[in-house]
Amino acid sequence: MEKIAELQNVSLRKHGGKILDDISFDLNAGGIWGIVGPNGSGKTTIMKVMLGLLKYDKGTVKIDNQLVTSKKHSVVRDQVGALIENPSLYPYLTGLQHLSLYSSDKKKISTIVQQLKMTNYIKLKTKLYSLGMKQKLGIAIALVNCPKLVILDEPMNGLDPKSARELRMLIQQKNREGTTFLISSHVLSELQKIITGIIIVNDGKISIETTPSELKKKVNKQVIINTNDNDKALKTLNVLFPDDGLKSLIIDSDKSEKLNEYLQAIINNDIQILSVNDSQDDLENTMLELMQHKSDKEGSNL
């Protein structure tokens, strides 16, 4: 599969500390990649390095097979659109003037304005914009020249649920047209609805590069049983299955084969089952759990 971006052993040191530590990953063209990790983990730094905004000490960064450095990044100008940190706007210019500043194709400007439903305020100065309006304009600037790769840092910030949904749909539409996306977001529930690949960054290192479905398989699956009398249900299970050492009605994956027996036992004791849920049905839990496992493992290795 064609690669739109390649990072090989990229390291960056600042003030004696490692900001990026031997980062390597490839982005296949045509995907929607999510980049997640806690605050300060290095997500924005990776994006800045990919855009040629930051000088890195070691490794190589390539976009569309062309080397990107802080001194040489014409490929970024021609093939990449980006929204990094907050939308960068001049308060004395209107939204339309911003788009004219970055694109000379009037047709493309009107298309993106309509797609992002910005017609009502595009002729107003940006100092009058709300956070959400600014965010939309920042995204419009990133998309207006129809680049091959779009890098969006926290694009859902400040967007209401309706706008967030519209943005998701636009990303998916652009993706179908051939644009590759790399998106960082703290609203992981929003991210998991669209991404086809995920990169987890922790402490300047890549923890995992995989797909969301593969990611779920990597962590312990838990099932939560909810009844009309949870105390009685737990006592019943501990009487019938004393060796299992159940402490709550959250059943770990290693005991999941006994789930049917547990449920049968609860029903036989006239306790009503209200729900049986998968505890890690979202990306957020999976990611947090995985990072916890990783840090526990690292801690025990010390």
């Binding site: 905004l53 040489k72 960068s88 020249n145």
Partner: protein, 256 residues
Amino acid sequence: MKPLMYQEFLKLRFKKSTWISLIIAVGMMVLTGLTTLNVGSSDSKYYFSSAYGGFQWFIIVLIAINASSITSEFQFGTIKHLVIQADSRWRVYYIKLLAISCYNFIGHIIIFLAAVLIKLLLYPGLDLFSHYHYGSTVIVNLILNGALDFFLSYLFIGMVTLIACISSNSAVAVSVGIGVAFAGEGLSNMLLSSFPSIIPIMRWNPFNMLNFQQQFAYPEHIHDTHLLLSQMGIGIFVWSCLFLVLGQLLFQRRKI
């Protein structure tokens, strides 16, 4: 994507303060013209050839526009777009200076035209071709003054750009620039008269170069500056280049 130079012009064009401050400078020239209606012939020649103070007012405008053109990019975060579009930061820096230079040139032309217009409206009796300093006519004196001010303005551009690259706040750069514009000459004269033993070195201080126009109008000023007009010209050129190069180095190292 439009060229960076075009973008810089577009920003200057759409920024209201760029033109409002210039209109205010012209307004101050009109005010000066009105308050000096009853002066003698020699003084009216002086006021005309100094563009009714327009060149001094324009320097203040230039300091403000120059400082904000650098600091605002960092303040608004728009520097990221500029750096992505240009292959190197030094290119962004010099394109900005080029745009400011064009604004500087246009501003001087406007001040020149405004001075001629004020003369035509308020001083119909003043002959533009009557003799004044250096055996030249009054109008040539105005042109020479404009050209010298344009040359000297690069010392301010260099100084303000350097401060704007150090500070993230345009107010600091503007304040220091205006402070230097008003008090720089006085400070230099004070230093030179207070420490005569170090005159050979101190006379090359950048503030002393601000006496350039004054010495052009009144050659006897050499007793205060201890430099020939040509030496001051070299000093302005060297200091301007030094400030601009230092500014570039700082601009390249600033965190985005």
